[in-house]
């Protein structure tokens, strides 16, 4: 992880529109953000797209970063991008359902690639509800404190702690 001073210098460079500084940000955060997207979607190609979207969004929004935890700010954007994806997925599903009814034919979503499904953890994560899964991934990949996560989700810290604990306990049970 980049040192705080290095990160400040990089962010300052990004705000000035320095492509090299953005490139450094990609190097620092792409793996963690990709992991976050991958664990939530289970699909590499979607994670590729979401990661690209995140960093392009970062170029647009870097001016609005006014200090504080950069990770918190970054993962808030990542979370919004993921929710937008979910919404579009819902729309896509609805469209498919309409088409299915109209054509009276069975339309199924593309199947996961074999290598994407090989991951046991990924399978077990799928058994958790979406919100809990996202919360666990946010905690693990963003490395934000419970307090920061609670603030980000605009909920009391007790609620965040409770949801997270239920999630990790279930995950532990599923994986053991």
């Amino acid at each position: 992880m980049a040192k705080s001073e290095d990160l400040t210098r990089i962010i300052t460079g990004c705000k000035k529109g320095n492509a090299e500084c953005f490139s450094q940000l990609v190097d620092i955060y792409s793996r963690r953000c990709y992991g976050y997207f991958y664990r939530l979607t289970g699909r590499r190609e979607i994670s590729d797209d979401l990661l690209s979207e995140l960093f392009v969004k970062l170029v647009e929004k870097i001016g609005s970063y006014k200090g504080g935890s950069f990770e918190s700010w970054l993962f808030k954007i990542a979370s919004n991008i993921f929710h937008d994806y979910l919404r579009s997925k819902q729309r896509y599903k609805k469209l498919l359902e309409v088409q299915k009814k109209q054509l009276e034919s069975e339309v199924t979503e593309p199947k996961h690639r074999e290598d994407d499904r090989a991951d046991k953890l990924q399978k077990e994560l799928g058994k958790l509800d979406a919100d809990t899964r996202e919360l666990i991934m946010l905690r693990f990949y963003s490395q934000l404190s419970f307090k920061e996560i609670a603030e980000m989700r605009s909920e009391p810290i007790g609620t965040t702690l409770s949801k997270l604990h239920r999630g990790v306990k279930r995950l532990r049970e599923l994986m053991e």
Binding site: A19, Q143, V168, L171
Partner: protein, 174 residues
């Protein structure tokens, strides 16, 4: 086992605010175990092509941003110039209103009736006399030039000179 989470937070202490110490310890155990599971099954990272593609997209986005920034600057300059012109025009109009020339009334020292009159004789008798005498001298000069005077004209010239002196002194006397 390291009893602190990857975020370096004291999970047990945090949960002790909500549950008893024994339960908090169990919760901490769950968190640490979950972190261990997640670490042992790392998610794949992005391909190099993907990160290279992202960097290239960023470069384009930055270029776009610069272009739109310069467009914004140009538009701003045009807007400022337009505003300046409007303000200048309004100011000029306002100043014009404030400094509209006062109507100057010109008055002549010569009475208007005299100034407009063409009847010189009735307006100024002295001027009329002078005009008549100038006319007379003009006639006498013409007669001299034509040789109307028999005595070589010397007497006539003297007479004219005398008349000139007289007229001059009369005129300045008023």
């Amino acid at each position: 086992m390291d009893k602190r989470s990857q975020n370096d937070e004291d999970v047990k202490a945090l949960f002790e605010k909500f549950v008893n110490s024994e339960q908090a310890e169990q919760i901490e155990e769950d968190f640490l175990k979950a972190e261990q599971i997640l670490r042992s099954c790392p998610a794949p990272g992005p391909d190099n092509e993907v990160t290279a593609g992202i960097k290239s997209q960023i470069a384009w986005a930055l270029l776009d941003r610069k272009e739109s920034a310069s467009k914004r600057k140009a538009l701003k300059a045009v807007a400022v110039a337009a505003a300046f012109i409007v303000i200048a025009a309004l100011s000029v109009k306002l100043l014009e209103k404030q400094s509209q020339p006062q109507e100057i009334i010109y008055a002549s020292i010569i009475p208007r009736a005299i100034w407009e009159s063409e009847d010189i004789v009735s307006d100024d008798i002295n001027l009329a006399t002078l005009t008549a005498e100038i006319e007379q001298i003009k006639d006498e000069m013409l007669a001299l030039q034509l040789g109307d005077y028999a005595d070589n004209g010397s007497g006539a010239v003297e007479e004219i000179e005398m008349e000139f002196i007289e007229i001059n002194s009369d005129f300045w006397k008023g």
